[in-house]
Subunit: 708 residues, 2 copies
């Protein structure tokens, strides 16, 4: 929906996040009511601005002068929060618009998310009313916002039943209100504060990217977390992600609707179109944003990236007070795809001063100390490990040792002094509350779940790799056609698709279309035997299945027979189908592996390029890499290197290396075709792209496509 | 180490788990000391038996009469617990042996786990001393045991700083002491009690299986959990697992040392040999035991299997008070490999009475209710979902809704009333302590981590599948040779390996060994062109790499030339190697896919059979299934069906189905060969086992092996 704003907004996002005044509709002393809780939390946490209770039946609420209607409240009213019933909402919003309110935060539900025409229409009316007045809307169907630096808890959620709102450097933008407050609460327990938390609900007016862009500019924010079910505008998201990147602020995202079933849940919730998750992954890789599947891990990661913006490598040191903890830690680190650090001899020598030989290596079991005094040993063990050049981060699996609160603090302080990321996983429950207090006292991160510690650690390693990858948008090669637009639209025949490929310098099979058996035989003679013959029919998708493909034809007679047989087979399988003759192709020789390479236009994120293991492996493996188009040959090569099939391409068990350079070049060219086709691209796929031995190139053996 | 016991044990395991009396070495009032804490926990939790403090310097400890030495204590002394320094330990143990003590529980460290000859020798002396007296040992290097029904906390761990030891039906046997107490504590927090917790440490005398066998007989135990770094005796473990199975008691295992690095950590801790994890997985599958990677999940699973021993299916219902929670829940359920339940129309109709249309399906977002009163709606939503025939278990992703303690209870009670497993994942932190209390009050399982809820749910689904699988040991087919023992030992040549296969009725290539070019040509004529020729040399492992394999030889001349060229190549690559001529083989035709099939003898679990995707896919995929040998053809077929390659074998995209029956038959026969070779088997591998179209059989194209 294009922005139909006719009047300039009265307030920018900063004014909404830090309002001078807040009007509370349905304000009440009663905490059983939405408006009651909002009033309580605003006052309890010491909101610095003006609180304006709106209630026709009350002179004051919680000792604060109340107003019968918004029109009576003293101006300016920057923000109004409304949880009134859906039926009464429009009138309240109209009154706000008339009273010059800057932004309505609407918690009421029953709009677009209900999935009814009525709900969508009501939402449209709300937005129109607001826009015509220059008023903004957060919601509906949201849980408000929390602005810790302004001591403002503009929400009815019970998670505000805390003594103090902690401030911090992580900004949280959540589509779901329930998750915003759940995340806020977990973070609060972990001692993590925010610069801003906001929930957007239906994103009817203000949307996720409005707040990302605000946080990019906000000097208190050093990392941005986003929980999203669907972006309203993919291109805008790409710009926002790039802005985070440029500002050096890590962007961490959880997206629901990754699976088809999750997509339904997300859609019915917010009535927003979920883009394909794979395309989002590609978009995030391009812009250095990081995706995870757990909302709490998102915030924990952001917090760690604020503390330790860079990692010195990817080696993990593991330390535990017990052999069991060390064993579990190491198995899980390795199974999570991370690398155990290799300690230097110098480190081992230092460790040997306090540990017995089997433990003076990674992982370290503190139980293997020479002296009986664990509290005096812990720091002497942690310091050498954390200082080892190959240790980029330390994972401590804290099981139980007697009196370990002191030991824990000692371990934490030694690790923090080394300046590298350290994550404690505390395995007992309430019995370890003492050590947890100790860790909080020295401000050392800990996790009650090893899963979460591992997930966050792996994401830190991933983030480092992402930052080291080449994420530039490549320049356009000079030899590409400048006006490629093909005349066709709809489904392309194989020869049509290959002409497009060939125009972009992608090698295709030598081939010719023949409309009768004589022409086919002549074509075969020109191409050289043996040849392949395929019937050309626009509506024929699975050529092999109906007998329309004849391989390995060795002479003219075989070609003539095949022409007739293939044409007959298609006519029989698809009576009345338009047959455009047959294509006669060279039989590809020397193909050592098969790739699949495709482009499509994602409705949210634009042109994407995919490459993967082709042929039968498409069905066996999901060995696929996606990237936003275009990619340079070097970036294409990096995609190939991430495939499992890379082993084969690089030359397995003494086998020859394949022409990965040529493959990367073809993929790069294909990605520029995706860009040039623009909105006309639906999809175009080469399968197989045969890859020969190094120096012998690649060739597109089959192709299909569809244009709008 | 064989059991060198010369004297019958004074006490059985039941007597150790429920002793009449416990002597505490180093008993003290001082909780800073091991013996002080043990005394405190024994008395605090009301141990019903006699407590006998041993301390040369004290007349009484905590008001209980103390003894200068164990010899002075009144008999019988069933159990003594010792945490005395390593140097003094042997003398204390000797005194115990002399005083008629039934079992020493030794917490002292510095024995075999130190990895020194000295430590191993000291441990050997300990064990000998005990065995000669009929005394048992738990430990050394353990954390004792907890016997809740006897109110006995025989450990120094601070996790006993609780008001009451809960009793329950889960038995826990842990090699690691630290993990035992950590697991105990988490379970305590979750309201889960045990029938017994014991830590074995170095398993110097009593070992894990002694306690599994005890728990199998113990009427208070309904499920058994085992944390293990290494079993002492694999065959014994198989018997113990089978006994659990026969008793209908689920056996849940966490094994560390799964990765090579983890293996080092585990070995240096307990000085025990870690068996191959894949073989353990096969052993567990055979005996219906379940493996996981998280100790807490192990106990949570056991608790749920005690509550709900069976599941009606594998369909999962997901319900959340918010769309965000429903979306996250569904994505994670699907990504964890589980299946979302398909609600019946009748269920949807019932849901439509309280929910708006988009929510009246799985997953359910309670926010989509028709009335505003969530507490009145929750049960009316949960009941139809939990009663739906395709819902086998319900996952509730509890985000936040106002006043949700009541809602939570209502949801829990409705779900529990349906009699199906229900798992709550509570997403907020301390803000949800109220709902947590509500869940505990109605005894409904909940998880603070969605990861853990998903892991346990997935394990329940796995356990159900495991119980449905055919786990019988198949009878021996009548046509197998009765005395197969081959004359060779050491490395087998390809023809030798194939003769073994052929003797077991596994189809191999038609072939003949020739010692000169004339004989090779004659053999090729008998076999039929084209043929394959390979040099036979016992020490030649990678034949292709040195040019010892010549494919597709079309006539006599080609065979003669190949004979010379291949022999020359081997002589050049391995000067002085013994060459036993060449083998001339049929060139296999019609092979549509390649399998790898192998047998080996695992040092702990005996003969195992492996099957997987062969040829180049061995390197690309780890598409492998392992089972204990022997397997029936039906069991072999089930192994094939678990491979990704099954898609290809079953006939992909209209392709022909392959001869999976013949493949399964060959695998079954190979598994019996593994059994018959007994201790002589090192390994034997067919790669590739070519599989042709259905009806056309399989053929072993290459094979290698090694016998002891």
């Amino acid at each position: 929906m294009p922005d139909q704003r006719t009047v300039a907004p009265r307030l920018d996002i900063g004014g909404i996040a830090n309002p001078r005044s807040v009007a509370v509709f349905g304000a009440s002393d009663n905490k059983e009511k939405f408006g009651g809780r909002v009033m309580h939390y605003l006052t309890r946490h010491g909101f610095a601005g003006k609180v304006l209770p709106i209630n026709p039946n009350r002179a004051e609420v919680l000792g604060i002068k109340a107003f019968k209607a918004i029109a009576d409240a003293p101006k300016p009213v920057d923000v109004a929060i409304l949880a009134v019933p859906a039926a009464a909402l429009l009138q309240s919003v109209q009154e706000c618009a008339a009273a010059g309110v800057g932004c309505c935060v609407i918690m009421t539900t029953g709009f677009a998310e209900a999935g009814t025409d009525e709900g969508r229409e009501a939402q449209r009316t709300l937005v129109e009313t607001a826009r015509n007045a220059g008023m903004r809307i957060v919601g509906p169907n949201c849980m408000g916002l929390i602005s810790p630096l302004a001591n403002m808890a503009l929400t009815s959620s019970l998670v505000l039943e805390i003594d103090r709102i902690q401030t911090g450097h992580v900004g949280l933008v959540s589509q779901s209100g329930a998750l915003m407050v759940s995340i806020f609460n977990r973070a609060h327990d972990a001692g993590i504060g925010f610069s801003l938390c906001v929930s957007l609900g239906n994103q009817s007016d203000l949307e996720i990217c409005d707040f990302i862009d605000y946080l990019v500019e906000d000097k208190n924010t050093k990392a941005v977390c986003v929980y999203v079910e669907g972006f309203k505008d993919g291109a805008r998201f790409l710009r926002s992600a790039a802005a985070c990147r440029a500002a050096g602020k890590p962007l961490v995202i959880v997206k629901t609707g990754r699976t088809p079933a999750g997509e339904r849940a997300a859609q019915s919730h917010t009535a927003s179109l979920a883009g394909s998750y794979a395309a989002l992954q590609a978009a995030c890789r391009r812009h250095g944003a990081i995706l995870t599947d757990d909302p709490d891990a998102m915030v924990r990661l952001a917090d760690l990236l604020v503390r330790w913006p860079t990692m010195s490598g990817d080696g993990i040191g593991v330390l535990s007070p017990s052999g069991g903890g060390a064993g579990i830690g190491v198995d899980r680190v390795v199974e999570s795809g991370m690398r155990l650090a290799q300690l230097s001899q110098a480190t081992k020598d230092r460790l040997l001063e306090v540990l017995i030989p089997p433990q003076a290596d990674n992982p370290i079991d503190l139980g293997g100390r020479r002296s009986g005094d664990v509290a005096g040993t812990a720091g002497k063990v942690m310091t050498p490990m954390a200082e080892d050049p190959d240790v980029a981060a330390v994972l401590v699996v804290l099981t139980t040792v007697p009196f370990y609160e002191q030991t824990t603090k000692e371990l934490a302080m030694a690790a923090l002094a080394a300046g590298k990321p350290v994550l404690f996983s505390v395995t007992p429950g309430s019995a370890a509350d003492g050590p947890r207090r100790g860790l909080r006292a020295v401000n050392c991160p800990y996790f009650d779940s090893l899963d979460q510690a591992l997930r966050v650690l792996r994401l830190m390693v991933e983030y480092r790799a992402l930052n080291q990858a080449d994420r530039t948008v490549p320049p356009r090669p000079a030899d590409l056609p400048s006006a490629p637009a093909p005349a066709q639209s709809g489904r392309l025949t194989e020869p049509e698709a290959k002409r497009l490929l060939a125009a972009y310098g992608i090698p295709v099979t030598r081939e010719a279309v023949a409309t009768d058996a004589d022409a086919a035989a002549a074509a075969a003679n020109r191409i050289g035997f043996p040849v392949v013959l395929k019937t050309v029919a626009r509506d024929l998708v699975h050529k092999s299945d109906v007998g329309a493909v004849k391989l390995n034809l060795g002479d003219e007679a075989a070609v003539r027979a095949a022409f007739a047989a293939a044409s007959d087979a298609v006519r029989k399988a698809m009576p009345g189908a338009a047959i455009d003759g047959c294509v006669v192709q060279e039989m590809v020789r020397g193909g050592e592996a098969e790739l699949i390479a495709g482009i499509r236009r994602d409705p949210l994120y634009g042109p994407v390029i995919m490459v993967g293991a082709g042929g039968i492996l498409v069905e066996l493996l999901t060995d696929i890499e996606l990237a936003l188009a275009p990619v340079s040959p070097e970036q294409a090569l990096a995609m190939l290197q991430r495939l499992r099939l890379w082993k084969v391409m690089a030359g397995i068990r003494g086998g020859a290396a394949l022409d990965t350079r040529a493959a990367a070049d073809a993929i790069s060219r294909l990605s520029f075709l995706a860009v040039d086709l623009g909105d006309r691209l639906v999809d175009l796929e080469v399968n197989p792209l045969m890859i020969r031995k190094a120096g012998d190139g690649v060739v597109a053996a089959d192709a299909r496509g569809q244009l709008a």
